[in-house]
Symmetry: D2
Subunit: 448 residues, 4 copies
């Protein structure tokens, strides 16, 4: 297995496998085999050479750690990898070894191997994303009428519904997930340019080989190499950054709502090594950890972008560990938030109770909207401030304190007075907004 | 004027004006006036109040610095701003002052004012971007046949054309500029949600007021408030990050090509405070400075995204200076690269000379491609290594050293031998790739 | 006043003044005047020239915005600034104008002006820091016996004292503040190297002029110029990063403890533009905003460090806005946390009540420590799990549920049974650790 | 072996081993064994239990991947690790298993294991650092008189010596290396606080156990736990950031000087997978890659610092992969720069030739310093500008063009005229500054 202790919370098992040594070796071999086949088909190298290369390309026959060590002398894992492949092919068919890596450069191998890895990771992300949005939509619909405190700056505000909160999560996740997946597809492209990006080593056959190679690898042919222009990868990295932060917003809300003193929702969570009573928000913690790491990783990727000339020195080597960490962390956050949302327990009674425990002071805005037109802003402000002070001092409901003020009582209708602290009467457009958020088209570009 | 010393290289005059105190005050007043008009039209507040608010909303009457100081006590500039507006309206029409900021919350004002500012900044970015892509396309076409060294890891590589290099710049700038502008439009949306995002203070009229308000401000109505979901802004910020780094890649190449020892291109540049001979790459320096700052700013914005509940504490206040710095830095980089590219001097002779000065060693790959099929990889490798060593030791051209090897000479045709170090004979698909890059559709999403 | 709307929460009034246009102009003029004086004293330029330069150096006579605009053409504000100074001196004493900026380069001016600004900012930071540590120490002592819930992963844990929590804040603030101030002093050094850093323009007099210049400006003479080595500034920037995050940890704790549902502490806070009942954690919000921005700014500064050769292109211009933002944000966080801590209201009763509201489940670890040696780990685990489940199901105290288990009751002494959920009996070394933290030496390097 | 393909350029073999699964398991076991021994010595647990735990603690008996997978359910690798240890001890001595991990919490294990790993990594860093500074000092002394172009903004400037450049590298590396090592020692401290940081589970014995435990592990006892205050680790991470950027400055200079068109220095470098002639700056590329990644990682670490209450949710899990990546990347950069500097080839002739190829325009500043006092700044400026233009137009040396101007010739002494473009005559204090930089005390705090 490929999961390591130090990164165990920053990935998932399937994603750690995709970027493992054996998977990377496999992807690099795929490139070399497909290149040989494409070149043989176009007539650049003998068919027998392509066959021999394909036969020799057995991942298990390569020593990943040895290649990794050697890479520090050559500046890339591709040089020792190609040397090893040449040696293996040469052992099988000496003539064929001449045509290994024919006309390609190291970056063609490593960039395309990365694209192949991303092409394997994307369906995982996409599937988890769909499960999450489905769960969020369901959660929102289930709790369309579940009233809870709004909270701004971590202080009580007028009520919302939990359905509206979940719909906000849904819409943001939908928008940013769609962008991440689109950027992911945009990054799954062949890189094939040869030494300087002109495919000169293939004479007139470069573009034809490129087209065949892309087809063979089931990657898009971008029409031209992009060795020194890293924006496709950067767009994926940044889209992961935005998506991951959106997931973390859900995790942040859940961890706050799961505090013992709030206790409005709970994810299943996990325990402690010493405290038997503990139920910790483990899944949300994983998402928050990911979102803590990813912004800096995004910065690192962007900082690496201005490559020098036709291939940068240093910048290129900074990309792979960064991109791989971003994709894995995003996938870890996604899987965790999906799990947390999918099994979220919601305590509607506690939501009600927490709202009630404010003594209705969150309806002071409502009082303002009702009194100000009649009494003027300043008079209304004073009356409400008095009522708030009274309510706080005496532990009395705000509505009662307000009703005790003759001026206020005179300015309000009996219904207004009696419903002053009724949450149902002060939800505004909550449900209309909720439904609009759920109806948001998947493609954010066209939804507005 | 609004440009400050400490930020002078991180913005442009027009952009610094857009985010100046007076412009921000104007945008906040626009929101309040438009809100009053929209509410009056929907019947929520009296028409006379809307008129009075509009009359009082004179930017020059507000004390920006005073508001800024007060903001440290309230946590937002909007509270002292609204207080000042209430006072001004009250002085004109006491009854009207009641309806200032009616049903809105501070974040509605500041987010929408930011959107209004972005809507003013976008056409500037778009226009500069179009000038840049036009200049890059022209540069590429002019130099379709201008041969130069490819350079990888800052070392000589087989030749390319300057036209291909410029086409690579063009394609990357086109892709990332389109994404930035799309993200910019996506961020120019109304924010209007009231205290908790339900528009409760407007009773049943919230959505209608929102629609009117968006129309009044010429902003899109996103259908629902987004106070706690910052992905639209984040998408702009990250798209700026990718675009700015793409601009910096051009600037990096130009500064390297402009070194005295290379001298292949030059931007007009500027001088020194003490060295009369100096011609410094000033415009490119501005772009590189921007691209050095922006990745960290992007990280800061992403880190701020997971707001708590319906309005975060702290996160929100971290956004505005970050976003404003990113947009200005990107605009500064763009204007500078446009200037540099638009007035770039290209020395095709020097390009030739620098290529020639390698003694043709960059064609060793070509020799390999020609000799290996005939002699086998290992034999070819040895012959070429010998020829390279001889050439270096004796200061001889590589082609001559190679031709002196009998085995090599026998394996090559006379034309191959005589053209071994002819750059024209080893450009591969350079011009086809160049034309493909120039034809790249503007929308990268659909081009692949 | 120099405070601007967009940055109003990211600085303080005194710090915004220090980095204002007029203050920067003043600092640059200080450099030029001191340089002339030093050179005149060493005999490099005529005394009359130094006098004329000093007379002309009136900050108000310079057009900051004009200089800022011009900077985009020259790549630095220093060139138009020096041109303006030459013109002014020339108007007073044409001969003296020759000796303006004699032997210096632009970077000498801007780096040293930055050092002068930092030397003005440091005492403010130091004073605020001392006020904060004093307040924290007092807070810790006042609440040495104030018992509250420990909270880990936002879930209840065994009790601590508020005094211990405050002592933890104190020690971390003390350690990191001392490092910031030391790094600040380390950055307040003269930069003076001339064009290439050899002081060649001053012939044999360079070092003597440098020493005089440092004395004149009351800055340390580092012995050699550091134009291309930015580690002194970087050490300040990173120390601010660590300090600011440490301040934010306090702010985060306070905002969480100030939630309505927790209500254990409160900072004075501020209101809302629409919700009359609101008391928002404004000061803590400012600190959290700063700590959200600063890590990315730190990354930007570090990314700018590898300058090319004797003066980088781009990197240098990226530093000033970044450093200035970091110092101001750190100062803003510091002033805010000092205010919040200094006026913190602590509700010891509510702390008790919140602890009691857990039903004593946080003492399950204690039960484990008492039962496991007698019954074995696994048997103890089962008994405690049963008691926790019973307590949760029946709303019973954990201690009672545990006492109802015969095996547990038999294994525990009467005192252990009766004090099972007594917080006083399970504070461990809380007060010893608290006193150790308060005694921590100021210099963290020597305290360990 | 522990080195992986995706991280192969971001670490070294010894460092990758230190943070490998088996090494982390070993460190965690070390903690548990030392804890048992300490507790047995203090009388908290039976000596027999400590012995049994020590016997069971065989790293090879634990399934790292299984623990890593399990960690996603528990939020930390420590819980499944402790479970596995309990099981192993239980198999050997059931009674002893009760006392595994006695009174400790997960964070105690993982933080202390990290400190133990850092304590193993530090001597490697320190040794490599000393080799580097030794090599830099030697390089500077060898080239005290090797004259080369100064270069600012990548354009020619007055001459320096290579010895001065190397001394600048030396001083910056010395300053920042000393800080990194000091911060590293500051981070090698025991973490031991138990569930809430009070050591309550150990009753009165907590501090005594902590002291024994620290002694047993050869770590400093910081006097109090620091579970929620991460500044010691942050100081190491940021010091690595500053150090790594300082190393990258050397690498940047070397890669630029190694360009074929400059060719003043060369590191041994490595080849290409397709270009036989290539000698790429591999070691410098590794350092630049590290310095590209590290700033963002530093930002991530700082962003994680404000933990909630007594143990954060998410923040804690974000630290380990970040810190481990920073330390390894820094170590990789260090080893590479040491190799590059240690085997640097310096071509003093080429340095001379490149300087000469400027035609002496870099001495225009010198001309200014000599002419301005005699002729006035403006007259001197015109004459020099004319001479520069003439020199450039006619390919003439600047000194000759200047001498051809009668006014200039009259104002200068014959020696000044004849030595105008003599680099030796315009080195200023280069060697004095060089010697000062080499004498810089190791501890930067005391050197100023």
């Amino acid at each position: 297995m490929s999961l390591r202790l130090v990164e165990s919370l920053g990935t998932t098992e399937p994603l750690s496998e995709i970027f493992s040594d054996s998977a990377l070796l496999t992807a690099m071999l795929q490139f070399e085999v497909a290149l040989a086949r494409a070149e043989s088909r176009v007539g650049v190298i003998p068919a027998a050479a392509a066959d021999a290369i394909a036969r020799a390309a057995v991942p298990g026959a390569f020593d990943a750690s040895g290649i990794a060590c050697e890479a520090r002398k050559t500046g890339t894992i591709v040089i020792p990898f190609v040397d090893a492949l040449i040696a293996r092919v040469g052992a099988v068919d000496p003539a064929a070894s001449t045509f290994v890596h024919w006309g390609a450069t190291s970056q063609d191998v490593s960039d395309t191997a990365l694209a192949l890895s991303l092409a394997r990771a994307l369906p995982i992300l996409q599937s988890d994303h769909e499960q999450l949005t489905t769960a969020l939509r369901r959660l929102s619909n289930q709790h369309a009428d579940t009233i809870m405190l709004g909270r701004t700056l971590l202080q009580p505000a007028p009520p919302i519904t939990f359905g509206l909160k979940a719909a906000g999560w849904f819409a943001a996740v939908s928008r940013t997930g769609a962008q991440m997946i689109a950027a992911g597809h945009g990054a799954c492209v062949l890189q094939f340019g040869g030494a300087s990006g002109t495919l000169a080593a293939l004479g007139p056959h470069g573009p034809a080989v490129a087209a065949e190679l892309a087809r063979e690898l089931d990657l898009k042919d971008p029409g031209a190499p992009w060795h020194a222009h890293r924006d496709r990868l950067a767009s994926l990295v940044t889209a992961c950054g935005v998506y991951c932060a959106t997931l973390a917003k859900i995790a942040r809300d859940v961890t706050l709502l799961m505090q013992h003193e709030v206790a409005e929702v709970a994810e299943p969570g996990g325990g402690s090594s010493t405290m038997p009573h503990k139920q910790n928000p483990v899944a949300c913690g994983i998402a928050l950890a990911a979102a803590t790491r990813v912004p800096g990783l995004v910065a690192a990727f962007l900082a690496a972008m201005p490559h020098e000339h036709e291939r940068g020195v240093g910048a290129w080597a900074a990309e792979a560990p960064t991109l791989v960490a971003v994709v894995q962390a995003t996938g870890a956050a996604l899987a965790s938030v999906r799990d947390a949302v999918g099994s979220l327990r919601v305590d509607a009674d506690r939501m009600r109770a927490n709202l009630a425990a404010t003594g209705g002071v969150v309806f002071a805005e409502r009082a303002m909207m009702l009194l100000a037109p009649a009494l003027g802003r300043e008079a209304a402000r004073c009356i409400i401030a008095d009522a708030l002070a009274t309510a706080r001092r005496d532990g009395q409901p705000f509505a009662a304190a307000l009703a005790a003020n003759a001026e206020a009582a005179a300015a309000l209708t009996p219904i207004e007075l009696s419903s002053m602290d009724s949450p149902e009467a002060y939800l505004g457009a909550a449900d209309e907004l909720r439904r609009r958020l759920l109806d948001e088209l998947r493609n954010p570009g066209t939804s507005e």
